[in-house]
């Protein structure tokens, strides 16, 4: 494959998959900057690789998830920084419109339900919502592809039940 053909294929992959990768990490972490950084870095590594992997979608996902794991490992200090920033953002939000605040409450409820799930189930649900194939899900989450369907069914039930639980 020539360099320009490879670049064109990467660009095509970017157009198709960057938005859903970005949305997935944004939904998972609640941090749009982090989601953008992870998505960008995964594609940078794909471009640098020079050849396309066998399953590019699963590869990109795996790379970005490994990056996220590394971020979590070194996060003690960063968590403090994020808390600081979010605290500041919450103060800045004090004058927001009532509709937006209702959205925030809904959002917090969805996030709480998601957090009630085991991490892998939450990831499975979010990735499937982005349309990833069972094969990609199995590779990225190191699951048996043959049991993805029942795991998804269980994750959806658990999510609905956590969402319906009254807030305490």
């Amino acid at each position: 494959m020539t360099g320009s053909a490879f670049d064109a294929q990467c660009a095509q992959l970017f157009q198709r998959h960057a938005p859903r990768l970005l949305r997935y990490f944004h939904r998972l972490t609640g941090d749009s900057e982090l989601a953008a950084d992870l998505t960008q870095e995964a594609f940078v590594r794909l471009f640098r690789r020079g050849t396309l992997p066998g399953h590019p979608e699963a590869w990109l996902l795996t790379v970005a998830m490994n990056l996220l794991r590394n971020v979590h490992k070194t996060r003690t200090r960063r968590t403090r920084l994020l808390t600081f920033e979010r605290g500041a953002a919450a103060h800045a939000d004090a004058a927001r419109a009532p509709d937006e605040l209702v959205d925030d409450v809904e959002q917090a409820r969805v996030r709480r339900a998601l957090r009630a799930l085991p991490e892998r189930e939450a990831q499975l649900l979010l990735l499937r919502a982005e349309g990833y194939s069972y094969r990609d899900l199995a590779v990225a989450l190191e699951l048996n592809e043959r049991s993805i369907g029942s795991l998804l069914a269980r994750a959806k039930r658990a999510f609905r039940s956590a969402w319906e639980e009254p807030c305490t």
């Binding site: 660009a11 960057a18 953008a36 960008q40 471009f47 960063r78 959002q107 998601l114 649900l125 069972y134």
Partner: protein
């Protein structure tokens, strides 16, 4: 015999092989209970995905151009192994006892001194004795070997494409690659003037094992810059 949860979910997601999908479809035509279950699962999925979409904010966009720019290796990087090898061999030749290279270099400098033409790379205004300029990769780290009993990093964002570090302590040594600059500052109490390209979106600064400053996208460590836009980061 009814369909399993796995079969129903796969049928819904189009993840069954053609033959099995046909069998499942035939079963659904004759089994009202499985049909009802499929509809329930489908409705539940729609509701769950709709709830998940409530998490979407307008997020920072990722631009293809930025990805392509960040993925390009620096032109010099393909020669990096050769440069490192040459410098290493040169250093070895210089360090040997009675090294002819050292004698030769000394004679060159002596000759220059005699002509009064030695160019000392020193900033006259700040009396900098040591420094380095590095073209950074997409994610760059400056690592000070250790904390200091005093002294600070005075960091400024710049439009220049290079990371530049200068200090008045001549004993400080540097080692660099495209993603890392190591600063051997053991025993130093000096300040370090650091210039970071504004375009460098992922940047970390460490002292020993501790992260003392980060930049991720537009997000910087919560250290406030002074009136001239310079960040003072203690090395203590």
């Amino acid at each position: 015999m009814h369909l399993t949860a796995e079969q129903i979910q796969r049928q819904l997601d189009g993840e069954l092989a053609a033959a099995e999908s046909r069998q499942v479809a035939e079963h659904l035509q004759v089994c009202a209970a499985c049909r009802a279950e499929l509809q329930t699962v489908q409705a539940e999925e729609r509701a769950v995905f709709e709830l998940l979409s409530k998490l979407d904010h307008p997020a920072r966009a990722v631009a293809l151009r930025e990805v392509q720019r960040a993925s390009r290796p620096h032109r010099l990087s393909k020669y990096a192994a050769g440069i490192v090898l040459t410098l290493g061999l040169g250093g070895l030749a210089y360090a040997l006892p009675a090294s002819p290279l050292r004698t030769w270099l000394a004679s060159l400098f002596d000759a220059d001194r005699e002509r009064g033409a030695v160019q000392v790379q020193r900033n006259a205004q700040t009396a900098d004795q040591a420094g380095i300029a590095v073209v950074p990769g997409a994610d760059f780290t400056i690592a000070f070997a250790t904390h200091q009993s005093s002294g600070a990093v005075l960091l400024t964002l710049t439009d220049d494409p290079q990371v530049v570090v200068r200090t008045t302590d001549a004993r400080v040594r540097f080692a660099s690659s495209t993603d890392r600059l190591l600063i051997a500052n053991e025993g130093s109490v000096a300040d370090f003037h650091v210039l970071i390209p504004r375009a460098l979106r992922a940047f970390t600064m460490r002292a020993g094992a501790q992260v003392i400053f980060t930049r991720r996208g537009d997000r910087l460590s919560p250290i406030q810059p002074d009136s001239s836009g310079r960040y003072r980061i203690p090395l203590k």
